[in-house]
Amino acid sequence: MAVKILQLHKRASYEFKYIQDKYAFDAGNLCYAIADGTTQSLNSDIWAEIITKDFVKSPEFDPQALIRKFQQSAQDFRACPFTFSDNPAKASLEREKLKRGATATFIGLRFKDEQNAEIISLGDSNVFIVRQGQNEYFPFSNAADLDNNTHFLNTEKLLSNETEPGFFVTGNIKIQKNDRIILATDALSRLLLRNPECVNELLQIESFKNFEQFCLKYWEAKLLEEDDISALIISHFGSATVKALLPPKGYSFPREEEIEFVPGQQPVFEPNNPYSDYDMQQLLNTISRLSDELRLIKRKASLLETLILLAIGLIVINMGIIVYFRYEMGNLKEMASAGTKGQQAKTEKESSGFDIKGGLEKIKEKITGKDSVEHVKTTVAKPEPKAETKPAKAAGSTPANAPAPTAKTGTAPESPKTGSPVKK
């Protein structure tokens, strides 16, 4: 049989030596095996290698017999040396991992003759029989069933007899002349089950470069899982060609620098900030509300201020008027008490120039704004009594030639605090 082997390690493994998928075949026995060591178990690549090699040496298709065979393989695996880490925490993990054993999937196939093959499988690897017209699958015909697989070949479970024959799936397949048979590990199996058109594309690959491009294309398209990718393609009875499309020596994927993630790239990150976003929003709302209220208060205060100034202005004017009148009324009273002392009053009047009527006219004039001089002329009527200490010579007499009060007499006294007119 012609065999084509395609393998590429996952990018996270960097180098091909870390691939955990293993295969083996015996061209003489027409026997082929593939196993996928699970990433999460220690030395699973060694375990995968042991079982594939042991199988092709003396294949078993009876599950019970194969379990017994693999139990011996598990003992061999246990005997492999292991060096524990210096880091106690890590060493603890390694001890636990070793206790849990190594795990792998497994498919073994042997051609009984040109038309018949027998298969035994455990795990989520799969077989594709590619035939013109219609393809066949074993054991899974769709990706959902493959995903639901829960059985794997684990060293410790084998040794503690927890691996049951029922976990294996066995079968016989009829082979036609131009059939090509693909044994694939899980990631590639999923791709081929979900995208059957990829099967022919895979079969066309004749170089590692093409295979690499195939994997990269589907990895980038997120249609192929980032995992080790392995396939054994078997065809052509009578041929003994073996073609291994494996990464060349020195081939590796670039190592990605592992930079520790540090939160708080955004300035908002402040884990111990006692105020949450919600609190801050509440505070902002409160501040905004206070600001609005403050603006309103300012407007009201401004209006109030104007009113107060107006009121104060009015009060000052009123007080001025009151003071003026009090002063004048005081003068009137004094003059009234002087009553009959006419001549003296006349003299006093002349000297003081006070005239109550004139005063009133003056006030009126101030209020109405009329010409003061005109009013002064008309306000000279009768002499007014003047509160004076000297007695009047002729009470009630008014001299005809008494001088008219000057404009000065109509104005407010210059020294109201004296309370008495100035003698001439």
Binding site: L42, A143, E225, E226, D227, F261, P271, P274, Y278
Partner: protein
């Protein structure tokens, strides 16, 4: 969105898991019928799950691969504060790669490393814890190639009512809502809640609906939990849980085993 079934969590495409752990005073109560407190149970479960994650990250040749990055956020330990629950060398770190986690354990117990100790003090500022989870998720997704990664998983473990969510829980609901809207190219952030109640019985695991109208906080935690994804449902079923499609990542009064299993289910394979 890409098909999450084609995504393998790896050191080039890691997954962020955030554990929000209630460290409030009520966690000092006994855990079910056990002799130890809920806080002790919770700390042991967190330590176990970190160890489990480590087991999933140890490579074929014994090297630790940074497939997961973990945050453990405690709330209530210091008044109303939310803080990183890492101690020792990892003190004040928020997100730590699994490699660094195993380089700096706090101590060893029974030949196994531990990272978190039990605390039961103070109030329950759960809304703030979710706010921090949101910020972390946002920062993490927008960093490097993390948009090409599995969406972060937030697992909240609590026994009580949030003290910073008001009477109608709207702030907490809003936070959870904002958190689950954050997404990578493979889907939205997953939120899971495990509710440790002092009530006995009433065990409820990954329900599609809850009908107990008597416990409004159970209702709240159920409502803010996201449905389990296909992978998680498969894992839960493999572990023997009878759950259906659209089951939510909510556990009420689960026992210690459920707690571990729940945390494992929350951890994608």
């Amino acid at each position: 969105m890409f098909d999450i079934r084609n995504l393998t969590i790896s050191s080039t495409n890691p997954c962020l898991i955030i554990y929000l752990i209630d460290q409030s005073g009520s966690m000092a109560d006994r855990f079910g019928n056990a002799e130890h407190s809920k806080a002790a149970e919770l700390a042991a479960a967190i330590n176990d799950v970190i160890y489990e994650v480590g087991l999933r990250c140890i490579g074929n040749g014994g090297e630790l691969k940074n497939r997961f990055e973990l945050a453990v956020i405690g709330y209530g330990r210091e008044g109303n504060k939310v803080q990183s629950a890492w101690e020792g060398q990892l003190y004040n770190k928020w997100v730590v790669s699994i490699k660094n986690i195993f380089d700096y354990p706090l101590d060893q117990e029974n030949e196994k490393p531990i990272w978190v100790r039990p605390y039961a003090i103070g109030s329950t500022p759960m809304t703030r814890a979710f706010e921090n989870a949101r910020r972390l998720c946002y920062d993490w997704i927008n960093w490097g190639n993390h948009r090409e990664c599995h969406p972060p998983i937030v697992i909240n473990i609590t026994d009580g009512e949030a003290t910073d969510a008001g009477t109608n829980f709207m702030p907490l609901k809003n936070e959870a809502d904002q958190l689950r809207r954050i997404s990578t190219n493979y889907g939205n952030v997953n939120i899971m809640n495990i509710h440790i109640s002092s009530r006995s019985g009433d065990r409820l695991l990954f329900p599609n609906e809850i009908y107990d109208a008597g416990d409004r906080f159970a209702r709240l935690l159920f409502d803010i939990s996201t449905p389990l994804n296909e992978n998680m449902i498969r894992l839960a079923q493999q572990k023997g849980y009878n759950i259906e499609d659209n089951a939510k990542g909510y556990v009420f009064n689960g026992n210690a085993t459920d707690l571990i299993n729940f945390l494992n289910i929350g951890t994608p394979q």
